[in-house]
Symmetry: C2
């Protein structure tokens, strides 16, 4: 798309058609400015197939704020909507409604509460809560979901990959396999969740990170095509980047050609007082080749060089590599722990697409509507009881146990006393028999998770930087039970509701069925 | 991101760091303007798990051209690169190189050949071929891959979903689950590959399609929250959109509440001379509910209303729905074929993320470099012989058999006589024993697949519109053997190389190993 077209497609019209038809209906009925509350939450942790996540990592809020800033109905947006036609060929959106959009609509004329970026989050817990005029809350739904669902998904995947690497440096390499410009927010989310750096030059620059990279096979091919070889290619690279010399050694044959050539070049660098960085392996049995290459580098006196691994890595592949190194390295005279500590991982496709589960099932649901200054909770019943909404104006709390570990997230109604309440009664959101009571001695801290972000159109708090988000994440992950952190088959973290919310939900379900299910006799 | 930041991140710096470090190396060696040729191709059809594609659909070229137009090193880009530091804290990119980027670099100073968008494409066949200055070809690699890989992936998925729906209307609903702004190109690709419409308002407008949608559960919830009910909500919608009345019937109970309420409203519309559009089902057993709902609509005299289905659909789910309707409808007095013909599918997550396989393994490889006006083929050997490149300047041909069906794509070297050659000798790209000979009587047509798109910096052909692309696709799909089109376990379409290319490849493999694999003795 041309820049103007991209601007039109990425602004307030980054929305689903039905948001606008519903908004016009509310306008026509005079309830477009009635206050309403919408909750954003996700239903389940990503299930990647043979493994699934035990928790998610929040990301996307600052991007959402930026989008809200740009989400305005200017002349071009209005002209676009005015040109839409009904099935009978009439103007679909009437001029008075368009006039309201152009002159009265402000995407930020809401109150927004959110869990901060970087925090560990769990299914069914409201992450973003929008309270504001009904038509505005509806129109911004799609943009909100588009912005935050994907970033949560990728931050979560990055946290898993980082975890499997045992804290080694992780580089995000996914730009070429991402969903077009989605790569920009994907890179951001990866940097929040676990990637230390990215190869993505522009996005890294905007976010204040140095981009990282080595060289490609094509560089060696160029030299070969011009009658030289791999050694000359490596030498040329070392000459130009003597202090950043990281060589890709698998263009021809990793152990027979690439590593010996790299060592030769490294020796030259050392003679000139430079410290070579290391090598990159991009094909073959990466664990085995790492061991053999490490041995060769050690023997040549380069035990401090790193070994960068890439090629379709994900959390399980990295875990397998680490395990194989632990089992196999000693046979070749290599210390496995030292080798694991010199490894660096470049992860592309699997990270930027969240391979195995390419979407978070995040939803945005109307939970309350204000009438005569009273909040009326609303419900959406589902055949699947787990999908029936938690209605009403709610608050979200994290309960820490006597070990200081997070033991449950608790959803209450507004105004309920939680912080000083003892014992705390926790109910499963849909199963009547599942309940739990926490005595005062069993809890050390009750933490409020949602913080105000936008208040009556103004952003009320500075957003944390990515380094601060990483600190929040580390703290939250440390507070998880190790079973919840586990990569495979994790424990289920408790997300509970209060008895009061339970009672409200059940009453509403009953009421909805009675009032609506008798149309045949009416 | 702010608009300025987004511009920086989505322009020429939408690239991987190593492209720039390599480009500077070529600049320093004085070979940055040496002509080189790069091929873009993908290695395998998407494998979604229990099913995989038998062919892909090309998409993304026009978006690529638009990106190349914007890929310039302006002052901000140059300042960004100038601020990068080496490990020793020195300026990483030297001023003379930055000066070249700012004043001499033009992303379109290349010759670009491409397979047109909408055409059926196969693994290992060059889809985009870039011939131009080495440093330019390298710097645009990432942007090219980012733009076209994802669009091919989604156009392919859309074609499969459309196929499983037996040609019924398909609506793309994925905006809220896409990778941020990646949704824009995803919607475009879906419209090329099989979606008739999209809910995405902005992108639909830019591409000239009317956006589509119904209403959400939240609209019914609003009415319930305000003391009214589903019937009142439906009535309000019908009042405002009398000629576009499509009602979501599963907020409370599909068969007990939603459908009866919809029928009541439709009766009112009919009395006023309007034709109701239909209903949407978004939960439960969609096949069974469709049959029961169809029966109720038929009995009420609305046999022409459509039934829109949504809720985690993909090609297999739709196939299963159609099959179940065929088996079950008659029991309830509903004609299965009529029901199948009134169905419309709204597909979100699975389409926009290509669920099961969220990335195309598209690559961009250096295949030749020009020295003294002679093209020298280049090679990248792989441990996996299937991944060893097809080297050199090549041409791509599609061979049609005596039934008019496409029987193979053939990759030749430039200058080889193919169109009037008989018999045609076809070799497998890597397996010596696999070969095939086609007599003149066995072929009806040999078609050149790559067409010139950019010649010396100028776009030489108008790009087809999306409707034309759909025509190309239909023609190509019709020319596929039904076994190749099959959704499950498709036949493998032959992609072959000429004996001359086979010989060149083998000679280069041998040469590379001999020249480079003796470093220990040197």
């Amino acid at each position: 798309m041309k820049p103007d077209e991209l601007r039109l497609a990425s602004g307030v019209l980054l929305t689903d058609q039905y948001q606008l038809t519903m908004a016009q209906l509310y306008y026509r009925m005079g309830i477009h400015e009635t206050r309403a509350q919408f909750d954003h939450f996700f239903r389940s942790n990503p299930d990647y197939g043979v493994h699934h996540a035990g928790y998610c990592v929040n990301a996307g809020l600052e991007s959402l704020i930026d989008w809200l800033d740009e989400a305005v109905f200017g002349q071009e947006e209005i002209d676009t909507l005015r040109s839409q036609r009904s099935s009978r060929g009439e103007q679909l959106f009437a001029d008075d409604f368009l006039n309201w959009l152009q002159n009265q609509f402000s995407a930020k004329a809401i109150n927004l509460y959110a869990v901060p970026e970087g925090r560990v989050i769990h299914p069914n817990v409201p992450i973003h809560v929008v309270e504001g005029p009904l038509a505005i809350g509806q129109i911004i739904e799609t943009g909100l979901l588009n912005t935050v669902n994907y970033q949560i998904l990728i931050a979560t995947k990055a946290a898993r990959v980082k975890q499997s690497s045992q804290g080694q440096v992780l580089m995000e390499f996914g730009l070429r396999r991402a969903q077009g410009l989605g790569a920009i927010s994907g890179t951001r989310a990866a940097l929040i969740g676990g990637a230390d750096f990215s190869s993505n030059v522009g996005t890294s620059a905007v976010l204040g990170f140095p981009p990282k990279g080595t060289h490609a096979h094509s560089m060696v091919q160029v030299f070969m095509g011009m009658g030289a070889g791999e050694l000359e290619a490596f030498q040329a690279y070392a000459d130009i980047y003597p202090d950043d010399c990281l060589l890709l050694v698998d263009t021809i044959d990793t152990l027979e050609s690439g590593v010996p050539h790299a060592i030769k070049v490294f020796e030259g660098l050392r003679r000139k007082g430079h410290q070579p960085i290391g090598i990159r392996l991009d094909s073959g049995d990466l664990a085995h080749l790492s061991i053999k290459a490490a041995k060769m580098l050690d023997d040549a006196g380069f035990p401090d060089t790193v070994i960068v691994l890439s090629n379709d890595l994900d959390e399980l592949v990295i875990w397998q590599i680490v395990t194989q190194v632990q089992e196999e390295a000693a046979w070749y005279g290599v210390d496995p722990d030292s080798l694991i500590k010199r490894m660096v991982y470049g992860v592309g496709t699997s990270l930027i697409t969240s391979a195995g589960k390419a979407a978070l099932d995040g939803v945005y649901k109307l939970v309350a509507i204000n009438q005569d200054n009273e909040w009326i909770p609303t419900l959406k019943i589902s055949e699947n009881v787990d999908k029936t909404l938690n209605p009403g104006n709610k608050r979200v709390w994290r309960i820490y146990d006597d070990r200081g570990k997070a033991t449950a997230d608790l959803i209450s109604l507004q105004g309920e006393e939680i912080e000083n309440h003892s014992p705390l009664e926790l109910r499963h959101p849909s199963m009547a028999s599942k309940r739990r009571s926490l005595k005062e001695s069993e809890t050390t801290w009750v933490e409020k998770l949602l913080v105000p972000v936008i208040k009556d159109g103004e952003v009320v708090n500075d957003q944390p930087g990515i380094h601060e988000m990483r600190d929040l994440l580390k703290k939250d992950v440390d507070a998880l039970d190790p079973g919840v952190r586990r990569l495979m088959n994790p424990h289920i973290y408790h997300v509970s509701i209060t008895p009061k919310l339970w009672d409200l939900k059940q009453a509403l379900i009953k009421k909805a069925r009675v009032e609506n299910a008798e149309p045949k006799s009416s």
